[in-house]
């Protein structure tokens, strides 16, 4: 019976473990991605990263995409879940509408957003014009571009958090609220001391999913800004792609990839451990 997982293990070995090892090996070379020969260059790819403005920018952006998206998605997701957990006409339709973008390819969502944020004939600038405001070139500034990408990513995938929190809210028995009512708790106190602690497992799931998704952000960036203006909105994922294909610097791209792996592994593990510990304390 134990043989049943052999096919899966073979796949993981060939297509995950082996490339990971090979990637670590390549990160110490100056391979250009296609030639037969290349030299070992020791740690120089890694030391070069420390002074590479573009890598540092992409590193910070990746943390923003990961951290800010997670924050936005959880705050908004919980708010939406609380709102849509009430009984009123139209809530089913609203839930569907909020969850729908989760199904859409992020790449396509990025292109659709281009219609909103483009300078000429952009839907947002048309709205500004209605209010008599000047048109804004939304994507020409690095910081704004990063903010827009973060917001677009968050709004597209907030449905995931909403659904997780809705399931969490529905799992809380009424007796807890009733007990709090008898003790004379205000709605705010009920939220803080009854609901939030009981939602802790949902928080852990939601944060983990959002964080891993945000740190890996690739498709939306490719569609909306291609990392521009300049290198200002690159994440580590898009930078690896660019370094490999456009700059033909596979060794360096591998090194950036390995660092990204370490970043995601360490960062998400720390947060998950922290949240799990909180669950136990509750």
């Amino acid at each position: 019976m134990n043989l049943f997982y052999i096919p899966a293990l073979i796949l993981f070995s060939i297509f995950v473990i082996y490339p990971l090892c090979k990637g670590i090996a390549l990160s110490f070379t100056n391979w250009n991605g296609y030639s037969q020969t290349y030299k070992m260059v020791g740690l120089s790819n890694y030391t070069r990263m420390l002074t590479d403005k573009n890598v540092i920018r992409a590193f910070i952006n990746t943390l923003i995409y990961g951290g800010m998206s997670t924050l936005l998605q959880n705050v908004l997701g919980l708010a939406l879940a609380l709102f849509l957990n009430q009984k009123f006409k139209g809530r089913a339709v609203t839930r569907t509408l909020v969850y729908l973008p989760v199904m859409i390819a992020p790449l396509i969502m990025g292109y659709v957003m281009y219609f909103f944020f483009s300078f000429n004939n952009g839907a947002l600038n048309d709205l500004l014009a209605v209010f008599g405001k000047e048109a804004v070139d939304w994507l020409s500034d690095g910081k704004t571009a990063v903010a827009i990408l973060t917001i677009v990513n968050s709004l597209q995938f907030v449905g995931i958090s909403m659904v997780i929190y809705l399931a969490g809210l529905q799992g809380i028995a009424d007796m807890y609220y009733e007990a709090a009512d008898i003790d004379g708790a205000t709605p705010l106190k009920k939220f803080r001391y009854v609901m939030l602690p009981l939602l802790q497992p949902a928080v852990t799931s939601s944060v983990t999913i959002n964080l891993i998704g945000g740190l890996k952000l690739f498709d939306i960036i490719m569609a909306l800004t291609s990392g521009g203006p300049g290198y200002d909105s690159h994440s580590l994922s898009t930078l690896v792609h660019r370094t490999y294909f456009a700059s033909e610097n596979a060794g360096y791209a591998s090194a950036i990839g390995i660092i990204t792996f370490l970043l995601i592994a360490v960062f998400s593990n720390l947060i998950v451990q922290y949240l799990k510990k909180k669950e136990v304390e509750m």
Binding site: F4, Y5, F15, M103, P106, A123, I164, A223, H241
Partner: protein, 271 residues
Amino acid sequence: MKKKNGIWRIPVLIVIFCVYFSPFYILTVISFKSATDLSSRWEFPAAPTLDNFRTAIEQGGILKALFHSFVIMVIAVLLIVVVGSLAAYPLARNKSKWNKVIKAFVMGIMMVPPLSILVSLYSIIVDMGGVNQYWGIIIILLTFELPQAIFLYSNFISSIPTALDEAAALDGCGPVRTFFLIIFPQLKSVTASVVILAGIHCWNDYQFSLYVLQSSEMSTVTLAISSFFSQTTSNLNAASAAALLAILPVVVCFLCLQKYFIKGMVDSAVK
């Protein structure tokens, strides 16, 4: 406190509706406008046209791309279901130390972001001759969707009483027959979740396809759309029509099978 009226909900609903409906609205409007119509993207087309869809199909090859995506998705999902449920069975049933190590290893694989190994993964696929081949992209999607499938299946199989396996063993079933005749038929609801989650990921994949399927002959939906947008900057209308055609199957599926989509999402997130 007793009788709240719900008037305050209306502005909130309007905001949600505007934010979430406008992308679909804008995309649809642009798809039906002729390329020479430069009116605001909010305005309904004065003379709706189907030309953009014709261009998307004839020049953009969007139908062929839909077909490629469909074939890749179906084969990949089938393999994910078979390989994933098979791998999950011993992990859920036989909780030896060694199997716990394997399970931790599988969960660890989920942590490896594909991008960090894409460079070397790509060179391995090149060496194997998998570039521009169905099997090249399918095997990669299979590998990276497996951990989640194994996770879902092993959680579910753990909840099936082992008495079932024992009864089958008494009747003389070997592990293979027990699995396929007794266990697998019990897995319908979790299989629905796996199919939906993996299917959506395969359909929407861009990052892997971008590396593996470089020939425009092999383009999947996402690749066809991205080349459409980058090549025909002058004809964004046709590109939107292509995008609309690409998301239509997903939206229709979602609206029909909504219950299962949500259940799949919750199952995969909450243990």
